[in-house]
């Protein structure tokens, strides 16, 4: 990006980008405080991509190189994972600066994948994949019916939509109803088993929020406000629960703060509830199935739900759940982990951009981390992480498999049906199948 031979004249340049960004950011994002010490860059997997790194990026902004900065696609490969600001001695908010820089790209010039996802979400009033409300309702009902029929022990399981007065409103990531409907089932089974009083909302049911990644504040806020209205006013729930997806969680968690949205419900991540239910004995799992097998599991702590919002508490919940399911001795942690974890590179909307090469290069750090554990499975609750880590395995020819947490929980409950095992490897294809399916054979 930078012409090394050119002499840049900086004495009288005006840095519009900087002054505007500072006006927008809380405490000006501390941008001016940069030591140029390199902490951010040494901890950032996006360092070097597009010839850019977080320190360089900030430096160019501070030197008033607005045009050069805006020419770099780096702002779309930075996932805003906040690993830089967490360690920055001056607590400089580079992630928000990146977000701000994204806002400065004319909306229709932003990466098309992200743009379309945001637009579809708004237009369909459902999710980012844009399927009509009727389709969502149909898929849920259809899959439920099929499960009730095929798995007799779940004959009375429900997947309510718009059930007023429920205790919990649950959002749903679009990927399952649109692309892999059977992946919805394990979660329903868990909710059914603990006797949860829950419902989907048919209006803005999609948890994912590409408007956030698009840096489209207006629409990001609009989506969350609609969800808040549904939860508080229409359905009157006590809890708004987010599925396993990390960015979906953060989009709501952050919007409630950022846009100062008043709300009555308590907002929770489903992984918190898994742990609570297990501790309360409502959700009974056993790791006996893995005693002999000794299959090793590691897990990805999604930045959005860990470092960026719930902190180590989320990581602890997740580990508690996994260890209950696979046995303490079969869990191997990545180093570093929890709030210090590396971003996988799938966040920030990168999956919806064309910067595949850079995204995979970004993810190499994560791939190496997973490979180092020697684990057979990487439990990855977050959807974006899941897609990225899955793809990393494929691209770098890793030996691990990537699964959602619900798959594992249901497996350890002995309730994971044969066609809910898409992401499991042959080693687990027939392990701990529900009694009913065995009988069926």
């Amino acid at each position: 990006m930078i012409e090394p031979s050119a002499t840049l004249e900086i004495g009288r340049r005006k840095s519009e980008l900087k002054s505007k960004a500072m006006a927008m950011l809380p405490e000006g994002g501390n941008l001016d405080l940069c030591f140029t010490c390199g902490t951010c860059t040494s901890g950032c997997p996006a360092s070097g991509l597009f010839g850019m790194d977080p320190r360089k990026f900030l430096r160019m902004v501070l030197l008033g190189m607005d045009e050069e900065v805006m020419q770099s696609p780096w702002i779309w490969i930075c996932t805003m994972c906040q690993r830089c600001i967490s360690a920055c001695p001056m607590k400089i908010d580079i992630p928000r600066l990146v977000f701000y820089a994204r806002t400065q790209v004319p909306r229709d010039e932003r990466p098309d994948g992200i743009l379309q996802s945001c637009n579809k979400h708004i237009e369909s009033k459902g999710g980012a994949m844009g399927i009509p409300k009727e389709d969502f309702v149909y898929v849920v009902e259809d899959v439920l019916e099929e499960t009730q029929e095929e798995q007799p022990e779940f004959a009375d399981m429900q997947a309510p939509i718009d059930k007023e007065g429920s205790l919990i409103m649950l959002n749903q990531n679009s990927r399952e109803p649109v692309l892999e409907p059977e992946e919805m089932v394990p979660l329903w089974k868990i909710l059914h088993t603990v006797g949860a009083d829950w419902t989907y909302s048919s209006h803005f049911w999609g948890g994912e929020n590409y408007c956030m990644f698009l840096a489209d504040d207006q629409n990001w806020e609009a989506i969350i406000r609609e969800q808040v209205r549904m939860a508080d006013e229409v359905l009157g729930v006590k809890y708004y629960v987010n599925t396993e997806c990390g960015h979906s969680f953060y989009a709501i968690w952050e919007a409630l703060r950022k846009y100062n949205i008043p709300h009555k419900f308590e907002f929770k991540h489903i992984v918190e509830l898994y742990a609570e239910w297990m501790k309360a004995g409502k959700l009974q799992v056993s790791s006996d199935w893995n005693k002999e097998l000794g299959i090793k599991f590691t897990c990805q702590d999604p930045c959005q739900a860990t470092r960026k919002s719930l902190g180590d508490y989320f990581a602890q919940c997740q580990r508690y759940v996994i260890k209950q399911c696979v046995g303490e001795e079969n869990f191997v942690d990545m180093v570093p982990n929890s709030v210090d974890n590396y971003c996988c590179g799938g966040g920030g909307g990168t999956l919806q951009t064309n910067y595949t090469k850079e995204r995979l290069a970004y993810g190499k750090t994560k791939f190496d981390q997973i490979a180092e554990t020697g684990a057979n499975y990487c439990v990855t609750p977050c959807h974006n992480c899941h897609s990225q880590i899955h793809e990393l395995q494929d691209h770098y020819e890793g030996k691990y498999k990537t699964i959602h947490l619900w798959t594992l929980v249901c497996l350890a409950m002995g309730k994971l049906g044969p066609n809910e095992r898409t992401y499991l490897g042959p080693d687990l294809e027939e392990v701990n199948l529900p009694a009913s399916t065995n009988e069926g054979e």
């Binding site: 002499t7 004249e9 004495g11 009288r12 010490c37 860059t41 607590k91």
Partner: protein
């Protein structure tokens, strides 16, 4: 000032600062309560292995002071005590202390150690070794501890906790154990208070990604000191904690808990970490050899102290230590033993390296207890929670009569702490002069035994010095060998011969064995001779009947690889010492009245502050200034780093000096000649053509330094290029043109850290911050750039650097090989430099260029000769001891302060001025002084009157006798003689003899060696 002023002072904190303050006060006629919260004094310095930049052994240089405090009649050490409240006011405070129980009666305990051997609680982390080794429930902090009294840790003692065990009481031969000991509330009435509580190290566990506390090979710098120390858990053998393997690569991470407002919540720079990391790396390489690879990861290398830059350069070039300019995000353990660091190198590339040990250079901060106490006691703290002081009263807290020194008033190194300690002692004492001596305990000297006609009975004490000597030399064998030597009646070994209990042991042995000569085979007379001589005097022996064999510096440190020969050489050195000591005779010391007045040379801020301080102690002062007005360099300066108006403050100070009846100001005056010696100097002052001779007991040199006149960056050719002083002048005059500049640039290190002037000028970075902020205040839209090599805003000055950045000042770093280029254009200056992040040249069109020019010493040769004091390689005056006597000279009665010592800001100059005065006061308060017995004398009957000795003597002590039967022969004035021996060596007639080093005494040593 109330009438009932109390002549005693409480010093809170028994680290090196508290120790120095106590000694200065106790030696100036005040009674001192030295209050320490731990069971013994010594503080952090007692834990350090070596001290920078000289790599002196920390305990070795400190132990004489520990012992001196321990046996000083006017210092009462109160251990295990913390301050509860401070009531009253300047001159008469009431302090309440809460003293925790020791459970051992200190009057009975003889520190025999029988108790600790029997104690079953063996696995208690030993705080002295930073938790790297274990101690028992009944213990002493460290072998040389003062007071050397055992203490029971009630949290672990089985008897106290569960009423079980009780073994220590059964084995104690003195019945000193008291399990029923209780907390005590003590009340002290004191005239002044000095707070010297020191610092606590930052808790590195806060920075989780560094894995401290989670991986064995991530250690703090404090732990690493103990890992290096001969008295540490590994006996000084450097090992990887995880498996005991020899480390191949060690990394230091700087600024851990400093310059971090995010997780560490410490905005300040801790000032000392860069130097201690360099020192630790050098020592580590000395221990482990060249195979060890050491890397220091840093942001700005802050080697801003005297001789620090040279040490840094040596570390890079001589010791081959890597310095990597980056801050590391996290430490990633690869396995149980090794650690990976990912970092961005100077070229902007990612790099990975694997290390065996990662040392976290932890910062300094105030303890929670001190913050709470300060709030209770109405003592204001700074934003960084250090004690608030001002530039012109640098040791005065916000509460009158309460003074502060050491790291509690901001992170600082040992010399600066020692300077402040003396400064605080000076201020605390000056408040109480009418009560001086009122609380003093008179010391009755032990009557001297007459041993003149006795046959020699020699005692030999051979020191292990932990493993320092004992690790190489077979110390027991040396003691056994000593017993075979003529006249040796007694020989033994000691773990630490310099410790307080050993002094008692030596004194008792002298009495019991009727010894009349003593040889100590240990370290160097330079630091320890006075200590052992004092011990001899306490046992009634003349102190000159003593001889030192240096089996540490001359043996164990230099013959590590050959222990057998090292032991053999030790034997020989002891044999020589024994032979000599047998020939020694008791010597008398002449006593001399001290003229109770002072000469201060130099009328800048330091000189004026020194004069004021001496006057406050009641002594008349001659203040000599060669210019026609007082004020010195400060007359050109605008603001202090704390924002005080320098012109206003300097005018105030000048006014105070001029109105002070005890100060005689000699303006436009030079020092023409100096005669005499400590206590009795006679100096010739020349004002115009008039010469005047004045008498003075002491001298303080405060001649300052000067600004370098640059020839680079178009200075002198383009009026837009100015120095800091010139810019300050424009601020002082409030030049409206300043605010009109659109773009201003500062260039740092102009003339500093260059081959011709390799040291750092210490003040320029801070000065640039002040001026950049001033420009920004005058015109917030002005673009301000600072082109620098390392930003060295040490301590709380770091906040100015932060503020400058906050205001939008841009900092661009350049290297010595890649300096900025300034080209004059009609409408601007084009300043081109490569940006250190983007690695591309940038050009700044500037209206103003300010050069941060070096501070250089005056030509100090003549003054040095006049007072027989020397200068260092940079031309600044050389103090007596870099660490522990920074304001003293090797020449008795001459003291040093201000920029004549090294470039420094006003607060430090004032502190040192007061410190020099304090040091002078300890001398003046004695009224009399003893002159060394090691002086030459002439036997006139043998003298040929050739005059060679008179020519040779550098101290003008030799002269011709002018009257009587020996007229024309030589004589030597013992008051002037320094015992150098030049006269004796040059005397062709053998008429001159040096007491204690006479021909027979030296020749017999040589004969024994051959």
């Amino acid at each position: 000032m109330p009438d009932n002023v109390i002549g005693s002072v409480m010093v809170a904190g028994g680290g090196i600062a508290g120790i120095q303050a106590s000694l200065d006060l106790a030696n100036s006629g005040y009674h001192v309560y030295l209050v320490e919260k731990k069971s013994s004094i010594g503080g952090v310095m007692a834990q350090l292995d070596k001290t920078f930049p000289t790599n002196d052994c920390s305990m070795c240089i400190m132990s004489p002071k520990l012992v001196e405090v321990g046996r000083h009649k006017n210092i009462e050490i109160i251990t295990l005590a913390e301050i509860e409240s401070i009531e009253g006011e300047k001159g008469h405070f009431q302090v309440e202390l809460l003293q925790k129980p020791r459970y051992v009666d200190p009057d009975k305990c003889i520190a025999c150690g029988a108790c600790t051997e029997k104690c079953p609680m063996r696995r208690i982390p030993d705080e002295y070794n930073a938790g790297l080794s274990n101690r028992r429930a009944i213990h002493i902090m460290y072998p040389q501890a003062v007071p050397l009294k055992y203490v029971i840790d009630p949290e672990y003692c089985l008897k106290i906790r569960k009423d079980k065990c009780g073994k220590c009481a059964t084995v104690c031969p003195k019945d000193a154990i008291n399990y029923n000991d209780t907390e005590k509330h003590l009340k002290l009435d004191v005239g002044s208070i000095i707070l010297a509580p020191g610092f606590e190290a930052f808790d590195a566990e806060v920075l989780r990604p560094y894995y401290y506390g989670r991986h064995k090979n991530v250690v703090t710098s404090v732990e690493f000191e103990r890992m290096l120390s001969a008295s540490g858990p590994t006996g000084g053998h450097l090992k990887r904690a995880s498996d005991g393997a020899d480390p191949k690569k060690i990394a230091w991470l700087q600024c851990v808990g400093s310059r971090d407002i995010n997780r560490a919540k410490n905005a300040h720079c801790s000032s000392v970490c860069c130097m201690y990391a360099i020192k630790e790396a050098i020592i580590a390489k000395e221990h482990a050899g060249d195979a060890l690879d050491c890397s220091v990861f840093f942001m700005d290398m802050r080697t801003h102290g005297k001789d620090f830059e040279a040490c840094y350069n040596d570390a890079k070039h001589k010791h081959d230590i890597s310095f990597i300019r980056t801050r590391v995000h996290s430490v990633t353990p690869l396995d149980e033993d090794t650690l990976d660091l990912a970092y961005i190198d100077d070229d902007g590339n990612m790099a990975h390296e694997t290390f065996d040990i990662v040392v976290l250079s932890v910062g300094l901060q105030s303890s929670k207890e001190m913050i709470e106490l300060s709030q209770k006691a109405q003592i204001d703290l700074t934003e960084s929670s250090f004690c608030k002081t001002t530039s012109f009263s640098p040791v005065q807290s916000s509460r009158e009569g309460v003074y502060v020194c050491g790291a509690f008033s901001g992170p600082k190194d040992i010399p600066q702490s020692v300077i402040e300690a003396s400064s605080a002692a000076q201020c605390a004492g000056a408040d109480l002069i009418e009560a001086r001596g009122s609380q003093e305990t008179e010391v009755e000297p032990t009557p001297q035994l007459n041993v003149l006609n006795e046959s020699p009975r020699i005692g030999v004490f051979v020191c292990h010095c932990g493993t320092n000597i004992g690790g190489i030399v077979d110390v027991e064998a040396v003691a056994e060998y000593s017993k075979t030597l003529p006249f040796v009646e007694y020989a033994t070994t000691n773990m630490y011969t310099c410790s307080q209990d050993t002094q008692e042991l030596i004194a008792n042995t002298i009495r019991e064995e009727k010894l009349n000569r003593v040889v100590v085979a240990a370290c160097t007379p330079k630091t320890h001779e006075a200590l052992f001589q004092e011990t001899m005097e306490s046992a009634g022996l003349n102190k000159y009947l003593f001889e030192f064999a240096n089996i540490r510096n001359h043996v164990s440190w230099v013959h590590k690889e050959n222990p057998a020969l090292a032991t053999e050489k030790s034997n020989q050195l002891v044999k020589m010492a024994v032979a000599k000591v047998a020939c020694l005779e008791p010597l008398d010391e002449a006593e001399l009245e001290i003229d109770p007045s002072a000469l201060v040379v130099g009328g800048g801020v330091s000189g004026m502050a020194a004069a004021r301080a001496l006057s406050a102690q009641g002594y008349p002062v001659h203040l000599v200034e060669r210019e026609t007005e007082l004020g010195g360099q400060a007359l050109d300066l605008y603001k202090t780093w704390q924002g005080e108006d320098i012109q206003e403050k300097v005018r105030e100070l000048i006014d105070q000096v001029m109105r002070d009846d005890r100060i005689a100001v000699h303006l436009d005056t030079t020092l023409e000649a100096v005669e005499g010696f400590v206590g009795n100097f006679v100096s010739t002052l020349k004002t115009g053509d008039a010469e005047k001779r004045i008498k003075h007991g002491v001298t303080i040199i405060a001649t300052g330094a000067k600004a370098y006149k640059p020839s680079e960056y178009l200075y002198g050719e383009d009026r837009r290029v100015v120095t800091h002083q010139e810019l300050d002048r424009r601020f002082i005059e409030d030049d409206p043109a300043l605010a009109k500049a659109q773009t201003a640039v500062f260039i740092q290190c102009v003339g500093s850290r260059e081959p011709q002037r390799p040291y750092c000028s210490r003040v320029c970075c801070t000065h640039t911050m002040e001026n950049a902020i001033q420009l920004k205040k005058r015109n917030p839209d002005m673009k301000v750039f600072v082109l620098y090599r390392d930003i060295r805003t040490y301590g709380e000055r770091e906040r100015l650097y932060q503020k400058a950045r906050e205001m939008g000042v841009i900092f661009i770093r350049f290297g010595l090989e890649n300096k900025p280029v300034v080209v004059a254009q009609e409408d601007c200056l084009n300043i081109t430099v490569e940006d250190h992040v983007l690695h591309m040249p940038v050009t700044i069109k500037a209206d103003l260029l300010a050069l941060a020019t070096a501070i250089e010493p005056h030509n100090n040769t003549r003054l040095g000769q006049q007072f027989k004091v020397s200068v260092n390689q940079d031309g600044f005056f050389l103090e007596s001891h870099v660490k522990l006597a920074p304001s003293d000279f090797a020449t008795d009665g001459v003291f040093l302060c201000g920029m004549a010592h090294y470039p420094k800001p006003i607060d430090e100059a004032v502190a040192q001025a007061q410190a020099a005065s304090s040091r002078a006061t300890t001398l003046l308060a004695r009224q009399k002084i003893s002159i060394s017995g090691n002086v030459s004398y002439v036997r006139p009957e043998d003298c040929s009157g050739c005059g060679t000795c008179i020519e040779q003597c550098p101290y003008k002590a030799a002269s011709f006798i002018t009257e009587g039967m020996w007229a024309g022969r030589s004589q030597i004035n013992p008051m002037l003689c320094k015992g150098c021996g030049l006269c004796m060596a040059s005397c062709r007639s053998g008429a001159i003899h040096l007491k204690g080093f006479d021909e027979n005494q030296v020749m017999i040593q040589i004969a024994e060696a051959l």
